[in-house]
């Protein structure tokens, strides 16, 4: 029987790791993720998790040890955030290039400077070109479920890519919510054993991993990563379907909410999706034809689903806790790519908000919606809008 209990997202992530039974875990403390390795240490200390837990001296070594262990053919896990993920950056490309299905739990946090420990998505968004799969959880249950799903997808032979699962700093990492812990047996059946045919370190079958590729060979490695990301789209759908069948919880790459007759759709990710859905309910009561959509999967970018979504609205408002300077938010860029050659497409309006833990209030959403409504009326609006700025201190 599944256990219904309450826990923080960090604990949910540790529970997910425990259920996935990684053989090697390497982690380094960082706010707001520290509770993940703490909890895992307890599991290992109590004999509840039979894993080698390497208490490394940096995040760079955490991911490097995971690469070593994964290359030796075992399931691995780590958790980090923000500067820690940035320190891993170099090795993230390598893990993908070496096709190692490492899973990393991320407590999404801003990047320095100034140092700030609170939530936005700049850490994982900044790693969007590494070849890693990216999932974003709306709540603690999703954090647990998506880590299990991430393993399922990452280890699929058609994919073999590492994956990161993000959940918002403090809003989720440190907030207690109801969570259902699935049965170990069901998880075992869902995930199976990881027995790679391409990555192993076997003295009696020596292979050389991490070669140097000249221009005659490098580009094909990138193309295969591109293909694996494309293949992951279908594999993710299959994993979501199997997960729903086994555990009863439904996931979609792009989850829509009251979009059917919407003029405006508010698109977001992570825990903000919960706020936005509430806001949509409120706006609907006022007769505003607005819907919401949540990007559960950000890499691979679900181009087809986004195109379907776009058909339903005249304006798409992107609510994002990240910024590419001089361009706008990442979703704005990716939605533009998905829609640029469509014959009929909605207007895209980008909203940068909630950076470094700034609360996103209904008032902020009112402001965003009013700009989106202007766009709907055909009035000219800025493509990129900063919402919730304290103009009085600028």
């Amino acid at each position: 029987m599944p256990i219904r209990t309450v826990m923080k997202a960090n604990e949910a992530a540790a529970w997910a790791a425990k259920l996935a039974k990684p053989k090697v875990i390497a982690a380094f403390p960082i706010t707001p993720s520290t509770l993940v390795p703490e909890k895992i240490s307890e599991f290992v200390a109590n004999g509840e998790l039979d894993a080698e837990f390497i208490k490394v001296e940096s995040e760079h070594s955490a991911i490097s040890a995971c690469v070593g262990a994964s290359a030796a053919g075992v399931r691995t896990f780590t958790a980090t955030a923000s500067q820690g993920l940035a320190l891993m950056h170099e090795v993230l490309f390598i893990a993908a290039g070496m096709r190692l299905p490492i899973v990393v739990a991320i407590g999404n946090r801003s990047l320095s400077a100034p140092i700030n420990i609170w939530n936005d998505w700049q850490d994982t968004i900044s790693e969007r070109d590494t070849g890693w799969l990216q999932f974003y959880a709306e709540n603690n249950q999703e954090a647990l479920d998506l880590i299990l799903i991430a393993y399922k997808v990452a280890e699929n032979e058609k994919v073999l890519l590492p994956a990161m699962v993000g959940f918002d700093a403090f809003i989720l990492t440190h907030t207690v919510e109801p969570v259902e812990i699935p049965d170990q047996e069901l998880v075992d059946e869902f995930l199976g054993e990881y027995e790679p045919k391409h990555a192993f370190i076997d003295p009696h079958n020596p292979i050389t991993q991490g070669t140097l590729a000249f221009p005659a060979h490098y580009m094909e490695t990138r193309y295969l990563l591109w293909k694996a990301n494309e293949a992951a789209k279908k594999v993710i759908d299959e994993a979501f379907a199997e997960f729903e069948k086994r555990f009863g919880r439904k996931y979609q790459k792009v989850e829509e909410y009251r979009t059917d007759d919407a003029d405006i759709i508010l698109v977001t990710m992570g825990s903000l999706a919960g706020t936005v859905k509430d806001y949509v309910d409120r706006a609907r009561e006022k007769g505003i034809k607005v819907g919401a959509a949540k990007m559960t999967v950000y890499r691979p970018f679900p181009v087809e689903e986004v195109r379907e979504l776009a058909k339903k609205a005249k304006v798409i408002a992107l609510l994002e806790k990240n910024i590419t300077f001089s361009v706008g938010g990442a979703l704005f860029q990716d939605f533009s790519r998905a829609l640029v050659n469509e014959d009929e497409k909605p207007k895209l309006v980008d909203f940068i908000l909630g950076l470094g833990g700034r609360d996103v209030t209904f008032q902020n959403l009112d402001e965003a919606l009013s700009i989106a409504e202007k766009a709907l009326r055909g009035e000219k609006v800025d493509e990129v809008n900063w919402i919730g700025l304290r103009k009085e201190i600028l």
Binding site: R99, L100, H198, I207, T211, H217, T221
Partner: protein, 105 residues
């Protein structure tokens, strides 16, 4: 005639070599570098005088390639497919059983 310790590797790579891109760009045939006949780099070549050899093994131990292996009697055999002609063997040979002579191709 003594055989190169890399004979099997040379045969395997001739049979199984493929440029097909592997997952993670893994090189799957151990010792497959033997396809690169680095002997073409050579300017001077070691000339071996067995009569002077005391089988001290120093040339065998020091060779960085390795392009020196041992025959049935443990005398050095020079593998000119790979010898880059560095001359460490001749320089270290205590009995001057190895001398470097200009390559004539």
């Amino acid at each position: 005639m003594a055989e190169s310790p890399f004979k099997e590797d040379i045969e395997r790579v001739q049979k199984e070599y493929s440029e097909k891109m592997t997952l993670g760009a893994v090189a799957v045939i151990p010792g497959s570098s033997v396809v690169n006949k680095t002997g073409s780099w050579r300017v001077f070549m070691p000339e071996f005088n067995k009569d002077k050899c005391v089988r001290c093994f120093l040339c065998y131990i020091y060779c960085p390639e390795p392009a020196i292996y041992l025959d049935e009697e443990n005398y050095p055999v020079f593998d000119y497919d790979y010898c880059k002609g560095c001359g460490i063997c001749a320089n270290e040979c205590p009995t001057k059983a190895i001398v470097m002579v200009r390559e004539t191709k």
